[in-house]
């Protein structure tokens, strides 16, 4: 299944990984009675393929220099990344109970100083891709063959600094840089497409015009994601790569999927258990 992951259980399906990420995230949401659960459920499939198909890393040694770097610039997606890091064995499962608490290693917004596996401090959007450019340059200086991944959001495409990094990555031929855009078309005040013009053309066409190897996929289709990550890593050109993942917020929990979408999905106190029960009713192999 994976050509890189070290020291994690083999032969676990990506469906099962995505299910576990969703379940971990829901349990964290239940602890606090809140959380960016819509984003976490939506991006779970992308994280499953990232961590359990694409990335090379050592769960017991999250700072191993040979690891692929994973930069989460969307700090509020921390709940989703914690869920993946727990499933990957980087974080212990019992810390789920501490999510967002005083003295927790898992604060609501991701910060590098707090959490093993959280590589950068996100939250102020539009930073991650620029840091990834610097890391890509640094890896090449060291002749380190690792990739640097930056997971960013569609809302972050409104930040000018993102496009500074987009141009520089092409200038420096950063073929070790893979951007993952979680495009759920939802930002704080409403739909992303209603805030800043994304037309003309598709999102992929825009990145291609800047010189990137761009793919746009259904971000909740595991097999499509696997093909896209494989193609991104294998692409022979000396160019950076982007995978635009069209995801559905709240994916996997039907009664939340149909709820009015907002940046911060409201979940009632009794609904966390209801959502978990739904997941537990059908456990993938």
């Amino acid at each position: 299944m994976s050509d890189g992951i070290e020291n994690t259980g083999a032969n676990v399906s990506l469906q099962r990984r995505a299910w576990a990420i969703r379940r971990n995230a829901l349990r964290m949401g239940e602890v606090q009675g809140q959380g960016y659960i819509g984003q976490a459920l939506g991006v779970a499939d992308v994280l499953a393929v990232s961590f359990f198909h694409a990335l090379r890393f050592r769960p017991q040694d999250p700072e191993w220099d040979g690891r692929d770097r994973f930069y989460l610039s969307i700090g509020h997606y921390a709940i989703a990344l914690y869920a993946a890091l727990i499933e990957a064995g980087v974080l212990p499962e019992d810390e789920i109970e501490t999510y967002g608490m005083d003295d927790s290693r898992m604060p609501m917004s991701g910060m590098a100083a707090y959490t093993p596996g959280m590589e950068i401090t996100g939250g102020s959007l539009g930073h991650g891709l620029g840091i990834a450019v610097g890391a890509g340059l640094g890896l090449k200086r060291k002749a380190n063959p690792a990739f640097v991944y930056n997971m960013l959001s569609d809302g972050e495409l409104g930040e000018g600094s993102t496009w500074e990094a987009v141009m520089s990555a092409v200038q420096w031929e950063l073929d070790n840089l893979i951007a993952i855009v979680d495009f759920n078309n939802q930002q704080a005040d409403g739909p992303t497409r209603a805030a800043l013009a994304t037309e003309p053309g598709t999102e992929a066409a825009k990145w291609e015009a800047f010189g990137w190897f761009a793919q746009e996929v259904d971000g909740n289709d595991l097999q499509a994601l696997v093909r896209a990550f494989d193609a991104a890593r294998a692409h022979p050109g000396p160019v950076p790569r982007v995978i635009i993942c069209n995801t559905m917020m709240c994916k996997g929990v039907p009664f939340l999927e149909t709820r009015d979408k907002t940046h911060f999905i409201r979940v009632e106190a009794d609904e966390w258990a209801k959502a978990l029960n739904h997941l537990d009713a059908e456990v993938p192999l």
């Binding site: 620029g130 840091i131 610097g134 890391a135 340059l137 640094g138 890896l139 600094s161 500074e164 520089s168």
Partner: protein, 345 residues
């Protein structure tokens, strides 16, 4: 309504004749050497030498390498120079990324762009994690006649507000060279002001040597204590010499490290011998060395006669630098006359 607007937009009437001509291009303004010996591009040469000894040093610029003296380094170590384009947010973020991979990046641009434009990127990508990025910026304070777009009159105030960041304003060529080495050797992030081009060399004759975080007495005096930073220490030394001819004895305490402030030395010197304390800086009177010293005095309960020399809290005029230094009170003559007035108060 806004007084300066009428002059800026109104009919041209010379303030005095003859006005200073622009001695150099405003964009590459060297500080007026005032008959002193100078050293060319001290930052660029110091970094080049340092990089010969240290493989982890890299240099980045946002399209201003020639105007920050980083081009000297870029020519000597082309494989370690990163042109990030006219993109200061990227400059700081990419420097953070290189630091994450074990390098010690020197990121250069103008002080206005680092402080005003790139603040959030320095703050969150670099300072919040104490990454060893050294931000070295030309055109600090009033060192160009180009107008407010290039005059970083409030950069120290902005940068002092950032936790974890060391803030340095060196005086002369030798101090810039020494500080370049010192900031490479210190682990965290640093913001350092640069003088570029032909930079006067002044402090060597006093046996001075830069130490990070240390304020040092350059000359002693019994009537007035100048507490100065950056190139204003050149000016306070000249002012002290001029005042000595009128039998006014002035000491000069040079404070190149604005943050963390050497509070112990500042307080000890300020309370020694009942002198008039006069801070002097190439920066707005808001939020720079003067207010840092005043706050340190107040917090310690010290009460000393205190005056401040610095730029007004205004957007400054364009023009020739010597004219502007006279106009805004940074020139030696202006310092001398104000100190005499204050002593008579």
């Amino acid at each position: 309504m806004i007084p300066s607007m009428s002059r800026r937009k109104g009919k041209y009437t010379p303030r005095k004749a003859p006005d200073h001509k622009l001695a150099t291009s405003a964009m590459i303004a060297s500080l007026d050497a005032e008959g002193r010996s100078t050293i060319d591009a001290p930052f660029g040469h110091a970094l080049t030498d340092l990089a010969k000894r240290r493989e982890d040093i890299v240099g980045l610029s946002a399209d201003l390498s020639k105007y920050t003296d980083l081009h000297v380094f870029a020519n000597a170590h082309p494989d370690r120079f990163y042109q990030m384009g006219m993109a200061e947010a990227l400059l700081m973020s990419a420097a953070a990324g290189l630091a994450r991979e074990g390098f010690v990046p020197f990121a250069t641009t103008y002080a206005v762009f680092a402080s005003r434009r790139a603040y959030d990127f320095i703050c969150m990508a670099i300072a919040e994690e104490s990454l060893p990025v050294k931000i070295c910026c030309a055109l600090p304070g009033l060192t160009t006649g180009y107008g407010p777009s290039h005059q970083a009159t409030e950069d120290l105030a902005i940068m002092r507000g950032m936790p974890n960041l060391t803030v340095i304003d060196p005086c002369d060529a030798t101090e810039i060279a020494q500080a370049t080495q010192a900031i490479a050797d210190t682990p965290g992030p640093v913001y350092m002001r640069l003088l570029r081009g032909k930079v006067p060399d002044v402090l060597g004759e006093y046996g001075y040597r830069f130490e990070l975080g240390k304020a040092k007495t350059i000359i002693d005096g019994s009537d007035v204590l100048f507490i100065s930073t950056g190139f204003m220490t050149m000016r306070t030394l000249d002012a002290a010499a001029a005042l000595a001819r009128d039998n006014v004895s002035c000491g000069v305490l040079h404070v190149p490290t604005i943050k963390p402030l050497d509070t112990q030395t500042v307080l000890a010197e300020a309370q020694k011998g009942g002198r008039l304390v006069v801070t002097a800086e190439n920066h707005s009177v808001t939020g720079g060395l003067g207010e840092a010293v005043a706050a340190a005095l107040m917090r310690s309960g010290a009460f000393v006669p205190f005056r401040q020399i610095g730029l007004p809290d205004e957007f400054l005029d364009a023009g020739a630098l010597p004219t502007l230094h006279d106009q805004y009170g940074l020139s030696v003559d202006s310092i001398v006359s104000r100190v005499k007035t204050w002593l008579e108060d």
